[in-house]
Symmetry: C2
Subunit: 528 residues, 2 copies
């Protein structure tokens, strides 16, 4: 655990004023936490508390929050090594003017910092390491019994996924209707609704810190597995059961401020303003601008931020969004589609819902493993990214996509294989000639990945796009990749580039290769 809790023994600062070796140490992009004792009153959540963290060059203001039981906290994610000091501000005297210092040290091990946009359409960690998103969907995994949550974490430990889409609020929907252990608000009581059904009555002025502490524990668990948490702030799956989709604007904003004060310092957090924003009928389209600006302005570190659609897209070009999170299965079910939407926005494109591998009767819930795997390949060769979900009824009738548990589908292993192929490439993929050739991706000169999808053929004439292609006499080797069987077979032949013929480049002897007559093959073509 890299979280430091400072109980504010202020005399310590007095006794050891300037021995930096005595200062608490925090790795870059880890979390420093200040705990303050303050009033334990009914209106504790209304107390405004912040701190300014500063070094010789920077001053960063961060908001604090009430964590229950008379404890107030301020969290900070340092991004520069060296000494950092802070001073708190509040109208509450016991929370005001508190000062301290800590030492930010170099990140170690798997701490690469938060993920950021790189090269317009792709991502890197803050330390420059490449990050290729291979996400999965676990909407309500943190609202399950502890034993199931632990199984989910064990599953993720062995799965190929490095991003999880997950809701803050519990989800009430088919296949996930169980009551969670924790609720975000304090329950005042129960009442009979119009339909005669019992409904909980919430005190929306009182967050339940235990709910958020649990959520934070799970986000840290994901961090320890190298997984980014794509935090879904709002969602429509409530159906009047708890009413968390209908808090009203004032409570929505209060919740955003509380959530961002708690979570902005978590380096693996991404903000997803909503899942299927347009299906949340209680929130008109224009509030999303206000909510998104509130998130972005409340987050001093500018984590990745997007908004996910149902059937109508949001204005993904707005400056608050770092990338585009699209639901649309048809974008990656055939060639030539994924790139069309991407090229509009000049931002990374993640197809965050493209239907799920499973056996539900709903058409979004019964992709085959082959279809789910192909969706990933279609996305990746077009320079975009795709998110997985599994909707098989698995052991214990949990369904991974809703509750977590175990994965039983056939795509995750193949997605892991694709992830390995991509991570072995010299950089992210782009279609080499996107307006005419939707099969040939490149990762810069000397590296091509050609994907055939369902198309089968017994031979393939060596050919590449002329656009940005290699000069005559360059030599290439070819590997046949079976994306389903997960094999890579190096061919003995070497191919030598001839002068271009119109828009294509061929081998100087027009050499062909033999292919097994199977679907889902790809070719990796690398300069010798």
């Amino acid at each position: 655990m890299k979280v430091f809790t400072l109980v504010m023994l202020l005399w310590a600062a007095v006794l050891f004023p300037s021995f930096s070796s005595e200062l608490p140490k925090v790795e870059t992009w880890d979390r420093f936490e200040v705990s303050l004792a303050g009033p334990k009153t009914e209106n504790a959540f209304d107390h405004i508390l912040s701190a300014e963290f500063y070094n010789d060059n920077e001053r960063i203001k961060v908001d604090g929050f009430y964590d229950g039981n008379g404890v107030y906290k301020i969290r900070f994610m340092p991004q520069k090594v060296g000494s950092w000091k802070y001073r708190t501000s509040s109208k509450v005297k016991s929370l005001n003017g508190k000062t301290g210092e800590f030492l930010c040290v170099v990140a170690t091990g798997e701490n690469h910092g938060p993920v950021q946009v790189a090269d317009t359409y792709h991502f890197k960690y803050a330390d420059g390491e490449r990050y290729y998103p291979f996400g999965t969907t676990l909407y309500a995994w943190t609202h399950q019994p502890a034993a199931l949550e632990d199984i989910t974490l064990k599953t993720l430990e062995k799965a190929p996924f490095n991003k999880v889409r997950m809701c803050v609020f519990p989800k009430y929907y088919s296949n996930v209707e169980n009551e969670p252990e924790f609720y975000p608000y304090v329950k005042k009581g129960e009442e009979k609704g119009k339909t005669g059904k019992t409904r909980f009555v919430w005190d929306f002025s009182q967050f339940d810190p235990a709910f958020f502490q649990h959520l934070e524990k799970r986000i840290d668990d994901l961090k320890d597995l190298g997984i980014e948490a794509d935090i879904i702030i709002f969602h429509p799956y409530d159906k009047g059961h708890w009413g968390f989709d209908s808090l009203g604007k004032e409570n929505d904003l209060r919740y955003i401020k509380y959530l961002t004060a708690r979570l902005s310092s978590f380096r693996n957090v991404w903000w997803s303003m909503a899942n299927e924003f347009d299906y949340i009928k209680t929130k008109p389209r224009d509030v999303w601008d206000i909510y998104t600006k509130t998130v972005v302005n409340s987050d001093p570190y500018k984590h990745l931020c997007s908004i996910h659609n149902g059937s109508v897209y949001y204005d993904n070009w707005k400056p608050e969004f770092t990338h585009v999170s699209i639901q649309n299965g048809s974008t990656v079910e055939d060639f030539g589609r994924a790139t069309l939407l991407r090229d509009v926005f000049f931002r990374p494109m993640i197809y965050d819902e493209v239907c799920y591998e499973g056996d539900l009767p709903q058409r979004w819930g019964h992709l085959s493993g082959e279809e789910m795997t192909e969706a990933f390949w279609q996305g990746v060769i077009a320079g975009t990214y795709v998110t997985h979900g599994e909707t098989y009824k698995n052991d214990g009738d949990t369904i991974f996509w809703a509750k977590g548990g175990r994965l039983i589908g056939s795509s995750p292993q193949r997605i892991g294989f694709l992830r390995k192929v991509l991570e072995e490439a010299p950089g992210p993929l782009e279609l080499a000639d996107p307006w005419k050739d939707h099969k040939t991706a490149t990762a810069g000169k000397g590296y091509y990945l050609v994907y055939f999808g369902k198309e089968m053929q017994s031979e393939w004439e060596f050919n590449l796009p002329k656009k940005g292609g290699p000069a005559a006499n360059k030599k290439f080797r070819v590997e046949i990749i079976d994306t389903w069987d997960m094999t890579v077979k190096r061919l003995p032949d070497i191919f030598e580039i001839a002068e271009p013929v119109e828009y294509r480049i061929f081998d100087k002897n027009r050499k062909k290769i033999k292919l097994p007559v199977k679907p889902y093959l790809a070719l990796r073509i690398i300069e010798e």
Copy 2:
């Protein structure tokens, strides 16, 4: 001719002050023109001149322009019937404070007013009549010998096109390198360029009114044929030959002001900021914002306005653009693509360049007639629009797309057939279930158009999407449309809707129809 030129015999207004029956009459959306005698000086184009046109409810300010030979003009397109008065303003005394009046009368005949956006993704004329764009490309047709321009007009008279994409500036490019009769600027002389080639030297302070008068004549000729003129303000096809792509920002803005002062009152004008804006290397991306705002602010009538791309899209969501003008052939060469781009923008989508029917060696210049025709169908069933171009070498070696002349391709006739099919529908088309079914378009309840493209089959089970579909027991008839042979065959069977089965609706007896095993068929399915 509906253009009224008032030689300013002011004593006439004094002699007949208030006999409205004596007032000049102009149809709504026609053009009223004020001509003023003014200084015939070197700096005539710098004189700022405007007029305010007003009735009891509205005041509209329009800019005037110098038309050469000491004549200054102000043009106005009235949009409301009744009496309109005006008063001119200028620092030049002889152009200032001139007043007059005319009577705007009801439009007649084929005068439906300018085209406007309707129903988010579609168009109507100002009088409410539907307008479905079926455009063609005639980049340099107004820079040809008069005899050829006349042949072009004769061709258009019989062609199915109701929009023409055309450049203001002459075009210097392969297949169109001839010098035009008129130039937009006055020639000062000639000089030897660095390469030893003779170059014209222009006086960019002196427009040549004859050039613009000729352009206007041709725009009016199109109007008389019911054709909208999609006026391309800038283009990259100059290659240093005349330098009209490299005027510099000040001259560019001067040109925009002059052009909009001359043309805004033409009801069939659309503004296309550029063809392939990103290929105009002399204009950085950020000037387009300034240029677009200048056009829109200078146009009191807010004609349709777009910007057309080469290989990188512009920010088509910006508020100045009324619709999206996209170049990308791949969007309409297969199912499921055209709708993807459209749904991003909440604006009409015109695929204004999707490669051309012809026999040029370049890949954008050799679609077959079948491919060009299919591109139109793919676009139209997805609720978008497509623009034609022809790049066959035709009689006189002119190539229609560049110079005009005669059409020899096989697609125009089929495009006309599609236009007829669309105009017979009760309204514009939309995919009925766009995320899963890319073949079935609807024009509202009771009307479907199913397109099969190249797919062939000997029978088809009657089926429609459940989404928005008809209730059980509704009855439908089916027509088989051969989009290539241009035939419509009504089937004798009547199909009766059963309860939905998952996402589809079938006939209650699961009836099938026999189809000829041919490509390019469509079905028109209409409620009885």
